[in-house]
Every structure is written in C-alpha cells, then in structure tokens.
Symmetry: C2
Subunit: 218 residues, 2 copies
C-alpha cells in the first residue's frame, strides 16, 4: 500500500492523520495503551524513526502520552477538546461559567427552533431516565448530562455541540458538586426540566430561554 501519496503531505504526516483518526474513531480508547513503536511501524509500513515523529506530534498536541520504559497511552480523543481544555485552564471559573451559561441559552433557543421529531424522542427518553433516577440523587448527574446533551444535539450546530461537550467534560466535577449542594427540591428541579422539554416541543424559543435561565439558577 502506502503509495497513494500526493506527496503534498509528508509520510509521517499521513501516518499521524491515520493514527489520529483511529483514536478519534475509538479504536484505541482513552487511557488505553497503544501498540509498541515497532509494532505500529510494521502496521503502517514505515521506519521506526518516522513512527517516532508521528508519536512525537500526537504527544505535543496532547492526544498521546509516552511513559518511558512502559508504553504509549491515549490521553484524549481529539485536538479540539485538548485545546479547549488548555483555554479553560487559562481563565477563571467565573469566566468558564459565563461561557457555559451563554451556550446553554443559545442551544436551548436553537433546539426549540430546529428540533426534529427524532430529537424530541431522544430528549423525552433522557427526561424519563432522569425522572426514574430522582430518588437516588447520586446517579442523577449522568441522566442530567444525557438530557442536556440530547438538547445540544437537537440544535443541529456542530460548533455549539463541540463547545458544549468540551465545557461539560471540563466542568463535570463542578456540576455534580453543585447539584448535590442545592437546596432545591428534586421534584421542583424535575418540573423545570419538564417545562424546558415542553417549550422545545412547542417550538417556543422564548419560553425555552426562560426555562434554561431558571435551571441555571440551581
């Protein structure tokens, strides 16, 4: 193989793209060890030197992590999340929450406008799942994330979805802590989510805005 090159990209660049795609596709999951340099060099039919350049690049981007004498591990699925994380680390938590609030509001309004029937089904399922986990609050976070993620999908905007994904995973701990510390009744919180769902069903984007603002006050 390997001779379909337009030569515009270097060999290591091509191999790097392939390996990066495999990681993005989940062939090698986050935290897992990838094959040794020698094995990978054979797999891609390149010299070990070339493959070392590949690993060097993916390491510098933050996708891979090399542990000397041990092996190479996957640290992240793609560059966007890595880089957004770096950006988040540079600013205050308050700043990040400002961005998150803006995202939530924008996403809810767009979801109300653009949602399809399939989107509604997904959101409804997540809402049910959320309601069933009401009593044991500990596992509520995952259901909550699923609900908001389903809405983010429904806004049909890849940029907003990616930004929301990156900021959610970054704020994971903060969100779950905050949720456990709230004084609001679980039933009351559920009511707010139900209202948000209904306003998306009715394609009432103004109502969706108000609902999200209430949820953000939790």
């Amino acid at each position: 193989m390997t001779t379909n090159q337009i030569k515009r990209y270097s060999l290591s660049q091509q191999v790097a793209d392939q390996l990066e795609s495999r990681i993005a596709d989940g062939v090698y999951a986050v935290g897992e060890k990838i094959p040794t340099e020698t094995e990978l060099a054979e797999m891609f039919d390149v010299s070990r030197n070339t493959l070392r350049e590949v690993i060097q690049c993916l390491t510098s981007v933050g996708i891979l992590e090399v542990r000397q004498g041990n092996g190479t591990y996957v640290r992240a699925t793609n560059r966007f999340h890595v880089y957004m994380k770096k950006e988040y680390e540079k600013v205050s938590l308050e700043n990040i929450l400002e961005v998150r609030n803006a995202l939530e509001i924008t996403i809810a309004q767009l979801a109300a406008k653009c949602r399809t029937e399939e989107d509604l089904t997904a959101i409804r399922q997540a809402l049910f799942q959320r309601q069933q986990n009401l009593s044991p609050i500990r596992e509520n976070t995952q259901a909550d994330v699923n609900f908001h993620m389903a809405i983010a999908q429904a806004c049909h905007n890849g940029i907003l979805l990616n930004l929301y994904l990156s900021i959610s995973s970054y704020l994971e701990d903060h969100i779950s802590k905050r949720q456990k510390a709230t004084t609001m009744e679980p039933l009351q919180i559920d009511q707010l989510h139900e209202e948000l769902y209904q306003s998306i069903v009715q394609q009432n984007d103004h109502q969706a805005l108000l609902c999200v603002q209430n949820i953000l006050k939790i």
Copy 2:
C-alpha cells in the same frame, strides 16, 4: 550547557513552546519565512534533528508550512485559530452565524456589566473613529471591527474574546460584503452603535442586548 531542564518536558517540546510563543508574539509574521533549520538549531542551541522535531510538530498543528528546498513559512499565529478554523470549515455558514450572534449578545451583556473606565475610553475612541469614516463606506469595516473588538475586550473573558477573534477573522469577507449590501442608512447604523455604547456606559445589560440584536439585523 543548557541543563536547566526540569526534564518533565523534552527538549524539543521546550523549543517548540519557545518558537510557538515567538510566532504568537509576531516575531515571525504570517506568510513570512522563518530562519533555516541550521540557523534555528544554532539559535536554540540544539541539534538539527531536535529542531526538525520542533518544526514537524508546529507543522502538524498548522502553524508552520515546510517547502522542501525553499524554506519554512508561518501559516497561523496560534493553535486556537487553526483549530477553530477547521471546525468552522466543517459546518454551514448558517451555523457559524448562529455562533457569532450568540457571542455578540453574550459579549455585549457582559461588557455592560464588567466594563472599566479604561474599557469605556477604548470603546469611545473606536466609536469616534467609526463616525469619522462614515462617508467613505469602504474603509468602514476596519473601524467597525475595532469597535466590536473593544467591546469584546471589555467583557473580560479570555475564552469569549478568543472565540470572537477566531470567528471574526474567519467571517471577515462575509461581514464586509454584507455591510456594503445593506439598505440601511449609514447614519441610522451609527445611531445603533451609539446606543450600544451608551447602554454599556450605563451598565444596562438588558438595553445592550436589545441594541446588539438590532445591529445584528443589519
């Protein structure tokens, strides 16, 4: 010689950071050719092999571009813009405009809340500059960009500022085209900007929201 390394980062990684910073600081501008590998290797006191790893990495993230037998050129000032540009290219123009609108609105509201006296001075100057260029519409875009950028600075949120920078530079052509095609009177548009400035002065974030929405309708 050069043994002040904490060894947590490899030599090539450290040099890569330094070179990346220089590019971000504008020492080597976009489109310019950087010194040869041999020269850079001497400058940073590393071998050419090590320096080649550096260039390889910066190339892989899209900051540099190598032309064999010619030299190495600067393609972008920093990673964030490179990544965001890639993301923008993956989605529709409508999606990008949705993100931009959300940014404008969020930024204006936050600017109204957080602006300092220094911020106001900067915004006012940009507004004056904008008003003086009213008659010759052709050079209005730059003044317009400066005005909005001054507001983005005033929101004191690095993430929002970076996002706004990346999306503005990406939409540069689109914005200027749209501005020339508008049917609205220059004086009327100026009035809208004046109102936005006043609402930021008065720290009236709700009023700022309304003003931006009107400006976005242009």
